[in-house]
Subunit: 198 residues, 2 copies
């Protein structure tokens, strides 16, 4: 019904997550009224991102260089490795400014129901890297869901023989949150993981 | 902080309406994991839409041809013209299958607070078209807001001397809606515009 170029534009927006028919139509019409410089910037950014960005061969972080910014930073603490589930996590932890070790991005979290088995998380690359390095602590920083917990336990087990401390980031009540809005599993964990006040 | 190509991609998504920092990041990372054919389809669709689509010289509908589908359809009823606020409205009315006349898309609805004055709605093009045609009825089908009502009254006044019936689409309670959720202005209008049951 719409002209073909408009249909194509709507269809292409519908490929993106969380964008349905109505939103795709709205975005498409917005593009039509946009400055052509801006719409070209969008189109070129999509093409350039796919062309220039790839996974860091060391840690699998997204990068446009041979090695990612973190892996090529010689000032970082080579004793600690933080395992995360995606590149976005790296930027979120970097924003806190409180971690100075290296990172490693998993390919996936284990989720047998979605067909993601232990061999699909990129464990070989991780183990090879750890064996060649001198990390004294591995911090597992994946989300505290069933998938995240399963993945943590699996990694802990795989690294058992290497005599390295394996920790995971704390779960509990977010700072500033109201206890009445926290689910009972989180409250239970917060109780179990209580710390002595020093 | 992100590699430049990724920052650009995030910034370009933020140009779109309703897309903030978080959503833009999510979409950008999604693009990175997408098949390159699909991401190219998105980029090309944006470029092609801007290149191929333009306003129909007769009615201002979006089209990729010299004249739009409706204007070049000789079987349509040349007695009735329906004035709408944008091209999307045309497709919505066409989907109902119950209108067979022609359309005319306004440039804007009058809204002095937003700097849109009567001279900015494209009234000259509309009047010239009506003077050259043989319409016996003009249906105004813009949204029933202050801007829409102001625009309707203005068009009605401009067309006064031409001896053409000017109507507007009905406002009232949407079919299937619960009266308790309808605002009082709509209820008032529904009462005022009541029709005898035949």
């Amino acid at each position: 019904m719409y002209p073909e170029s408009l249909e194509d534009l709507i269809e292409s927006f519908k490929l993106l997550p969380g964008i349905g028919e109505k939103t795709a139509e709205r975005l498409a019409f917005y593009i039509l009224n946009m400055d052509v410089e801006k719409s070209n910037f969008l189109a070129e950014s999509v093409v350039n991102a796919k062309r220039n960005l790839h996974k860091c061969p060391v840690c699998s972080n997204i990068t446009d260089k041979e090695k990612c910014n973190v892996c090529s930073d010689l000032k970082r603490d080579s004793n600690v490795l933080c395992i995360v589930e995606d590149s976005r996590s790296i930027y979120l932890f970097e924003r806190t400014g409180s971690f100075h070790g290296f990172y490693h991005v998993l390919d996936n979290l284990i989720s047998p129901l979605d067909g993601v088995n232990p061999e699909d998380i990129g464990i070989e690359k991780l183990v090879k890297r750890i064996e060649k390095s001198s990390f004294s602590e591995i911090i597992i920083a994946v989300k505290p869901t069933i998938e995240g917990e399963t993945t943590s336990l699996y990694i802990k087990k795989i690294l058992e023989g290497l005599n390295i401390k394996v920790t995971r980031i704390a779960s509990g009540i977010p700072l500033g949150a109201d206890i009445e809005y926290i689910d009972s599993l989180t409250l239970e964990r917060a109780l179990l993981d209580r710390k002595e006040i020093e």
